[in-house]
């Protein structure tokens, strides 16, 4: 699957490793289960490590551990399954994770902006996706009523910028 990051196609630098496979050299992505059972060994590796969250696995399971990861993959098995949006927000805001969050699975054009707002910064997309579609999908809407993980100020706040500046003086 093509991968988009920072508004450009990019090579996937990580390989998925199944739970019963031996770990190869280099960047790997393991399941949450494998992370939890082999944590002691995994943190001694000196290559970047990624972990994959299924949609029924809460990001809370990574509390205290996020600094070990260069990548956290969130699976969207069906686009209708929106649990991953909460996972991304919890990772970014509550757990203060700053590495890459990648949306994988059924990741469609009309979800990209919401995902990005929740903190996703790389997207596994359908073959044939055009970069211009990606760019326009992220810019079609510019009014955000609520704060999320992307640090856009909410409309509630933007309306009162002047007041806030005054209050801060």
């Amino acid at each position: 699957m093509p991968l988009i990051k920072n508004a450009a196609f990019t090579e996937n630098q990580f390989v998925h490793v199944a739970d019963d496979e031996t770990l190869p050299q280099g960047n790997v992505i393991v399941s949450l289960k494998r992370w939890q059972t082999e944590r002691a060994d995994l943190i001694t590796r000196n290559a970047p490590i990624g972990v994959r969250l299924n949609s029924d696995q809460s990001a809370e399971a990574l509390a205290g551990d996020v600094h070990h990861f260069a990548l956290i993959e969130i699976d969207f098995p069906k686009f209708r399954d929106g649990r991953g949006y909460s996972s991304a927000r919890i990772l970014r805001q509550r757990l203060a994770y700053t590495g890459e969050i990648r949306a994988v699975g059924d990741v469609l054009r009309d979800q990209w902006l919401f995902m990005k707002r929740c903190g996703v910064d790389s997207f596994e997309v359908r073959p044939g996706t055009r970069l211009e579609d990606f760019r326009s999908a992220l810019t079609e809407q510019t009014v955000f009523y609520q704060r999320s993980s992307d640090h856009h100020r909410s409309v509630f706040e933007r309306r009162h910028t002047a007041c806030q500046a005054l209050a801060a003086e």
Partner: protein, 547 residues
């Protein structure tokens, strides 16, 4: 009422452009119907039995005359000259063409309207008390808070793919006219001992296949924390609501399965986390800004008068459809969309124009849509009541049946709806015709009769004093009757009487129930009161003995 600022307008305009692109991609075949479906559902566009149906949001049921005129214009230009007001305080067009929908949305945007989030598994249009701002019993205008919730929930990035649709209702009066306890989240605004606003949050109510009354999960939440509390509740639901079975995916099932106490605990934990982020705390300047739009209109200083005249028809209407206003000399008028034998909630373009004109001249330019599928002119001078009634009556809108047995709520049913098991409109028409006699209706008194064409309960049958549910038995329509439901502050779910009736037998069955009520009632009791006192047995015995 609320007016868009540049942000609100831009949000809606951008959406029109975006959806126009999506429709173009669908029409060109770039999107399959399967891929298009979630997109159109984010914009209120359903594919029904015979055609597309477009549901337009009327936030908390408040409209300006200009907006209502635009709704009439769209009905005329793009539809069959009428539209349908729903139990969600929304409006539905039954016959738009897909290719016209972008133009309809563009027209709506010119009057600060849209169809955003009127469908799909997202936070739907917020509903509220249709007497807001006019009734003496409210502690604040609930529309201020409904508007704040509307904005927060619009394009919410985290909560647009919930397990299931999500409905929020708000009331600020002890008399609950918004049925808040049968919503996913219902909010009651109170004033505490220090006269400060406090928000009680009820979670997990709902109708449909599993009717349940909401539990109070959040008590006395402070105004500035309201959104944080809602966000916390939504996050718990988004993560833990069931997604394996659409019939078990509403938040009520989650609350039912883990229990209200556990739900309260989980939300409380999340609430602490969300509050710690701080970003959702509502700035007081913003609350004030929105509140200013709902300031009372410039009422004249008048005193109450007795508007009765020598015209008995007017007097009956006055008694039934006119309620007390908080300001002396004014009145709240309910415009019945339930003419005898008509289709509940339908209004023609011409009728909408008449109501818009009256609102402009006689009600500070404001119209309300009630969840009971009527319209409301909230601020009419008592001395204008006669003129208002005359003009309404001339347009076929003068039916004096508010709250009576012919003021029936009915969903569109099998005449339109893809999910229906049976028709609802025919039953509403038959009962309405049977009980047409005005004196008899008044003799029966307040009676909420509600009809749904399937278990999804869009016609709110579970909370009808008499509820009727259409079922399908081997291709034949049957109707199951429930008694004793109520959607107000004493909310209860109706109890099933017994085996269902064929279409032709329903009016007789209702007659029998009314006979039992007459035989059993104590002075001053409404149907519901009698039912609650004597229970279902006498009704059951008489009904099934007779059949």
């Amino acid at each position: 009422m609320y007016r868009y600022d540049e942000f609100d307008q831009k949000a809606v305009d951008e959406r029109v452009v975006q959806f126009s692109g999506q429709v173009a991609r669908r029409l060109s075949g770039e999107l399959t119907e399967d891929e298009f479906k979630p997109l159109r559902l984010m914009n209120g566009l359903y594919l029904q039995l015979h055609a597309y149906m477009l549901r337009v949001a009327i936030p908390y049921g408040t409209l300006s005359s200009k907006q209502l005129r635009m709704l009439a214009h769209i009905a005329r230009k793009y539809d069959k000259d009428y539209a349908h007001f729903t139990t969600r305080q929304n409006l539905q067009y039954n016959w738009p063409r897909l290719a016209d929908v972008p133009a309809i949305l563009a027209d709506l945007a010119t009057v600060e309207m849209h169809a955003i989030q009127t469908s799909g598994n997202c936070i739907r249009n917020v509903t509220s008390d249709h007497f807001a701002g006019a009734s003496a019993d409210e502690v604040d205008d609930p529309r201020i808070w409904s508007e704040i919730i509307r904005q927060w929930s619009t394009f919410h990035p985290e909560f647009s793919y919930l397990p299931r649709k999500f409905k929020i209702a708000v009331t600020a009066a002890p008399k609950d006219r918004a049925a808040i306890k049968v919503h996913d989240i219902g909010i009651i605004i109170r004033r505490d001992a220090a006269d400060v606003l406090a928000f009680d949050v009820y979670v997990g109510g709902g109708q449909g296949r599993t009717p349940l009354i909401g539990h109070m999960i959040g008590e006395s939440i402070a105004a500035e924390d309201l959104l944080a509390y809602l966000e916390a509740t939504m996050r718990v639901y988004n993560q833990y609501g069931r997604r394996d079975n659409i019939y078990k995916a509403r938040i009520k099932i989650l609350v039912h399965q883990i229990g209200a106490d556990e739900m309260r605990r989980q939300v409380a934990v999340e609430f602490v986390e969300v509050k710690a982020q701080g970003a959702l705390a509502l700035p007081q300047v913003e609350i004030d800004r929105i509140a200013a739009y709902f300031a009372s209109p410039a009422f004249e200083t008048l005193s109450d008068e007795n508007p009765t005249t020598a015209n008995p028809a007017f007097n009956v209407w006055l008694e039934n459809n006119v309620a007390k206003h908080k300001v002396p000399g004014y009145a709240i008028v309910t415009v019945s969309l339930k003419p005898i034998g008509g289709i509940p909630g339908d209004a023609s373009a011409a009728q909408m124009d008449v109501v818009a004109g009256l609102a402009e001249k006689c009600s500070f330019d404001e119209v309300r849509v009630s969840h009971e599928q009527n319209l409301v002119l909230a601020h009419v001078r008592q001395r204008d009541l006669l003129t208002v009634w005359q003009q309404l009556a001339a347009a076929g809108l003068g039916t004096a049946n508010y709250g009576l047995i012919t003021d029936i709520i009915a969903c569109p049913g099998l005449d339109y709806c893809d999910l229906a098991n049976a028709r609802s409109i025919n039953i509403a028409q038959a009962i309405s015709t049977r009980f047409a006699n005005q004196d008899r209706q008044r003799e029966i008194g307040e009676l909420k009769l509600k009809i749904s064409g399937c278990i999804n309960a869009c016609g709110h049958h579970h909370v009808g004093h008499i509820g009727i549910l259409g079922v399908d038995k081997k291709g034949v329509e049957f109707y199951q009757i429930t008694l004793g439901g109520s959607g107000d502050e004493t909310a209860s779910v109706g109890e099933i009487l017994g085996p269902a009736f064929g279409e032709a037998d329903v009016p007789d069955a209702i007659e029998t129930l009314i006979d039992v009520y007459f035989a059993k009632r104590s002075p001053g009791e409404r149907f519901l009161d009698t039912y609650r006192r004597v229970g279902i047995q006498p009704f059951r015995e008489k009904l099934y003995a007779a059949h």
